[in-house]
C-alpha cells in the first residue's frame, strides 16, 4: 500500500481556513458597499485572493500560507490607506482582524505545518 503522503492538518489550520472564508464574505460585502470606487476593486481582488488562500490553506499548501499573509498585508494596507484618507469606521475592525490573523498565521504550529509540508519547490530537481 502506498504511504499516506497527505500532510497533517492541525486544528489551527482548519480554523484559519474558515476564518479566511469569513474574511472573503466580509471583503465581498465591503466591495459591494464601495461599488464604483477604486477601493471597491481592491476589496474584490482581496476577496478573490482570500478565497484562493483559504483553499490552499485547507490543503496545507505552502503557497496557501503565503497567500493568506498576502491577503492580510493587502487588508492592512487598504485599512491604513483609508485611515490616512476618508477614515470610515470599518477601518478599525479591518485593522484588528488583520493584526489577529497575522499573529495567528505566525503561530509555531501553523508555521511548522506549512514548513514541513512538501511544496512544489522542495521536490527533486
Amino acid at each position: 500500500m502506498a504511504p499516506n503522503t497527505r500532510p497533517h492538518r492541525p486544528w489551527a489550520v482548519t480554523v484559519i481556513s474558515w476564518l479566511l472564508l469569513i474574511e472573503v464574505a466580509a471583503l465581498l460585502l465591503l466591495a459591494f458597499l464601495s461599488l464604483g470606487r477604486p477601493i471597491g476593486l481592491v476589496f474584490f481582488a482581496l476577496a478573490v485572493l482570500a478565497l484562493v488562500a483559504a483553499f490552499g490553506f485547507a490543503r496545507v499548501r505552502r503557497g496557501g500560507w503565503v497567500n493568506a499573509v498576502l491577503v492580510q498585508g493587502g487588508d492592512l494596507l487598504a485599512a491604513l490607506w483609508l485611515y490616512f484618507g476618508p477614515r470610515p469606521m470599518f477601518v478599525y475592525p479591518m485593522m484588528l482582524v488583520g493584526i489577529l490573523m497575522v499573529l495567528y498565521l505566525h503561530q509555531a504550529d501553523v508555521q511548522s505545518a506549512f514548513r514541513l509540508a512538501p511544496g512544489p519547490e522542495q521536490g527533486p530537481p
Binding site: V69, Q72, G73, L76, A79, M95, I99, V102, L103, H106
Partner: protein, 662 residues
C-alpha cells in the same frame, strides 16, 4: 597546558609577545630533531587546495615578495615615509625593532599599478598566452541576478571613487600578476608555513598560506583587492582513545609527537564571517572532503578564503554606515521570532544569517575546477617552513604585509602577518588555538573517559554532601515542627509559635530546593554513565551538533536562473537611473512618491531574484501589522485598557469559579 619552549606555544598574549621577542640561540640536536618531527607531522596531514578557474595567485614563500617590496611608515596625520626602498628590503631587515608613536602604521608596498599602455600590453599578452582553461574565469549565469542591485551599485561606487580614495586600483592586480609570474619563473615552488602547538592534550597543526595579492574585486566581481593575503587552517590531532597514559599527557613521548599514535579529530578553516564552534568540522563530518589523510580546501577565487565544499558562496558585506540599520532589522527580526516562538526543527540547529536588505551580497567562487596544490593535486607542496623563533620576520614584524590604503571598511588594506592582527596585537588563533575554534571545552577523545570519571566523582561527592545536608536540615525541620506542635494551647507562647512557623516554612523551602538539586545531580550522573559507552570522538552526538551557522554553497537550483532574469539584472540598474531622471524632469512634484515606487520595485525584484519573495511579503505584512497596532493603540488607548482589564477580571473569575466547581 603543555608549553614546549623550543617552539612558539599557546600562551597568554603578553607571554606570547615576550616569547616572540626572545633572541634565537644555538640549536641543540634535540631541538633539531623536534623540528624534524614537527615538519613530518605537518607534511603527514598537509591539505590539498583546489582553486577556482582563473586564479592567478598561489601560495609561495615570503623572501622574494619582501625583496620586491618597500617598507613604509605612516604616522597619524602625516604623509607616509619610505624607510627601506624596494630591492634593499630583506626578511631580516623587516624583523628589526622599530619603536613608534601611537597610531603609527608600518606597511609594505609591493607593486606599482600599470599605466594604461602597460595594462593594454599585459592584457593582450595574457589573452594570447592563455591556453589552459583552468586559467580562464567565467562567472557563469545568474551572478548578476543573485547579487542584485546592492553589490553592483557598490562595485560601481568603488570603481568611481578609486582614485579619490587612494586605494589599490584594479590595474594593480595585473601588475601583481605579472610580478608573481616572474617570481614563479625563478622559483616555481609552492609552500606553506606551519606550526605545531600542543595544548591541553591536543596537538594542533597550523598551516599558513601566503599569497602576494588578493584580486577578488578586480578579478572575480568580489568585495576587495589588496596586496598580500594570509590564509590559515588548523588540524587538531589527539592520541587514539585508550592511549592517554602515554600520549595524552602534556609533553607526551616523541613517538606520539611524530604522529605515530595521533589521529585527526577536527579541522578548522579560518573565515571572516564565522568564529568559534562554527569554524570547525569533525573529521568524520561528510562535509569535510579528504584525500587520504589530507583535508581538501576549496579556495575562493581571488579571495583565497577557505571552504569545506566546492561551490559558489554568497558573501555579504556590511557597510559601516549601514550598520545601525542592519542591527535594527536583525533586532526586529529576532524580536518577532521570539514573539511568535518560530518553529525550529529538532536536530537542525544550523541556519544562515537572516536575510537583511541592508547587507550587500557578493559571490565568492570556490568551484575547485582550476589548479590544485597538495597531495593528489596537480602540483606538490615544497618543504614547509616552520614558524618558530628562527622566522623572526613573522614574530617581530607587526606591520601590514602590503599597501595601507586608508580604507575605512578595511577591506582594501593589506592584512598583518600570521602572528599579529592589523592593530599589532597577537592574533587569538596564534596564542589560543583551541579557544579560537571553540575546542577548549572539548576534551581529547583519549582523555574523555577519564574526564567523565572525574566529573562523576565530583557529582557523587556533591550528592553525598547534599544528602548529608538534607538529612541534617530534615532533622532540624522535624524538631521545629514538634516544638511548634508542643506550643499549641499555650497562649503565652503565641509569638514563639509564629517565629517557629516562619522558620519551618523557610527551612522547608530550603530542603525542597536541595532535594531538587540532588535529583538534578543524580540525573546528570546517570546521563554521564550512559555517555561513557558512546563513541570516543570528542563530542558524542552528531558531527554537526556544535555548528550554529555554516556557510553553504548556493544550491544548484538557484544557479539555474533563466536568461530573462539575468538580462533584467544586466539592464535594470540603468533603467532605474533613467526612471529617476525622468521623475526629476517630468514629474518633480511627485518625486518622493515616485522614488518610493521605484525603491519598492527594486526591493520586489531583488527579493524575487534571491528567492525571498515570500519572506518579503511576510516582512512587509509584519511592518504593516506593527503600524496598524500603533494606530489602534493611539486611537483607542483607554478603550483597550478597559477591555484588557475586563478580560483579565473575567478570566480570573472564570478560573476561580472553575476551581470552586471542581
Amino acid at each position: 597546558m603543555n608549553t614546549d619552549l623550543t617552539r612558539p606555544a599557546p600562551v597568554a598574549p603578553a607571554a606570547a609577545a615576550a616569547a616572540v621577542a626572545a633572541p634565537a640561540t644555538a640549536e641543540t640536536p634535540e631541538a633539531q630533531a623536534a623540528r624534524q618531527v614537527d615538519i613530518a607531522l605537518l607534511q603527514r596531514f598537509e591539505p590539498l587546495i583546489r582553486y577556482n578557474r582563473g586564479e592567478r595567485f598561489f601560495p609561495i614563500g615570503v623572501e622574494r615578495y619582501v625583496r620586491e617590496s618597500s617598507l613604509w611608515m605612516q604616522r597619524p596625520g602625516e604623509e607616509a615615509v619610505q624607510l627601506v626602498p624596494e630591492g634593499e628590503l630583506t626578511v631580516d631587515k623587516l624583523a628589526e625593532p622599530r619603536p613608534a608613536d601611537f597610531g603609527t602604521v608600518y606597511f609594505l608596498k609591493f607593486i606599482e599599478p600599470f599605466n594604461i599602455g602597460e595594462l593594454a600590453t599585459y592584457t593582450v599578452q595574457h589573452e594570447l598566452r592563455q591556453k589552459d582553461p583552468r586559467d580562464v574565469f567565467q562567472a557563469g549565469r545568474g551572478r548578476l541576478a543573485r547579487v542584485g542591485y546592492g553589490s553592483r551599485f557598490v562595485a560601481a561606487l568603488f570603481s568611481v571613487t578609486l582614485l579619490a580614495r587612494g586605494r589599490v586600483p584594479g590595474d594593480t592586480a595585473a601588475a601583481a600578476a605579472e610580478a608573481f609570474q616572474r617570481m614563479l619563473a625563478d622559483d616555481p615552488r609552492h609552500l606553506y608555513f606551519g606550526r605545531v602547538v600542543r595544548q591541553d592534550g591536543w596537538t594542533a597543526l597550523q598551516y599558513w598560506f601566503f599569497y602576494p595579492f588578493n584580486n577578488w574585486r578586480s578579478g572575480f566581481f568580489g568585495v576587495n583587492d589588496h596586496e598580500a593575503d594570509w590564509e590559515m587552517i588548523y588540524i587538531y590531532l589527539s592520541p587514539a582513545a585508550g592511549t592517554s597514559d602515554s600520549a595524552g599527557a602534556a609533553g607526551g613521548s616523541r613517538q606520539v609527537a611524530a604522529g605515530g599514535d595521533l589521529s585527526p579529530q577536527w579541522v578548522a578553516y579560518a573565515s571572516h564571517d564565522f568564529s568559534g564552534d562554527d569554524l570547525r568540522r569533525r573529521w568524520d563530518d561528510p562535509e569535510l572532503e579528504k584525500e587520504g589523510e589530507h583535508p581538501v580546501i576549496y579556495a575562493g577565487a581571488g579571495s583565497h578564503s577557505s571552504y569545506y565544499e566546492r561551490g559558489e558562496y554568497l558573501a555579504e558585506l556590511e557597510l559601516p554606515f549601514l550598520s545601525p540599520l542592519v542591527r535594527l532589522v536583525d533586532g526586529i527580526d529576532a524580536f518577532w521570532r521570539r514573539l511568535i516562538r518560530e518553529h525550529t526543527i529538532p536536530g537542525h540547529r544550523e541556519a544562515g544569517a537572516a536575510f537583511n536588505i541592508f547587507r550587500i551580497p557578493f559571490v565568492d567562487y570556490a568551484r575547485g575546477d582550476g589548479h590544485s596544490i597538495g597531495p593528489g593535486g596537480e602540483r606538490p607542496w615544497a618543504d614547509p617552513v616552520l614558524l618558530d623563533e628562527r622566522q623572526s620576520w613573522a614574530l617581530q614584524y607587526r606591520g601590514l604585509w602590503g599597501l595601507f590604503a586608508h580604507d575605512p571598511i578595511a577591506g582594501e588594506n593589506a592584512p598583518a602577518g600570521p602572528v599579529y592582527n592589523p592593530d599589532g596585537l597577537v592574533r587569538r588563533s596564534w596564542y589560543d588555538p583551541l579557544g579560537w575554534a571553540g575546542l577548549d571545552k572539548v576534551p581529547p577523545p583519549d582523555q574523555a573517559p577519564a574526564r567523565i570519571a572525574e566529573q562523576r566523582q565530583l557529582i557523587a561527592a556533591r550528592c553525598a554532601q547534599l544528602e548529608q545536608t538534607i538529612e541534617t536540615k530534615s532533622r532540624e525541620l522535624t524538631g521545629l515542627d514538634l516544638e511548634a506542635h508542643a506550643m499549641l494551647g499555650h497562649t503565652h507562647l503565641v509569638r514563639h509559635h509564629a517565629a517557629h512557623q516562619e522558620k519551618i516554612n523557610t527551612l522547608s523551602r530550603e530542603i525542597n530546593q536541595l532535594r531538587a538539586e540532588l535529583a538534578g545531580d543524580l540525573a546528570l550522573a546517570e546521563a554521564l554513565e550512559a555517555h561513557v559507552g558512546q563513541p570516543q570522538t570528542g563530542e558524542f552526538d552528531s558531527p554537526r551538533a556544535h555548528i550554529h551557522h555554516a556557510a553553504h554553497p548556493t544550491p544548484a537550483a538557484d544557479l539555474r536562473l533563466n536568461r530573462v532574469a539575468e538580462f533584467w539584472a544586466a539592464i535594470s540598474i540603468g533603467l532605474v537611473m533613467v526612471g529617476f531622471v525622468a521623475l526629476v524632469l517630468f514629474a518633480r512634484p511627485y518625486l518622493l512618491f515616485g522614488l518610493v515606487g521605484i525603491l519598492s520595485v527594486i526591493i520586489f525584484i531583488e527579493a524575487s531574484f534571491r528567492r525571498q519573495l515570500a519572506r518579503l511579503v511576510d516582512a512587509v505584512t509584519i511592518a504593516l501589522t506593527i503600524v496598524a497596532a500603533l494606530v489602534l493603540l493611539f486611537q483607542f488607548f483607554w478603550n483597550i485598557v478597559i477591555v484588557a482589564v475586563i478580560l483579565a477580571g473575567g478570566y480570573i473569575m472564570w478560573e476561580n469559579l472553575h476551581e470552586l466547581r471542581s
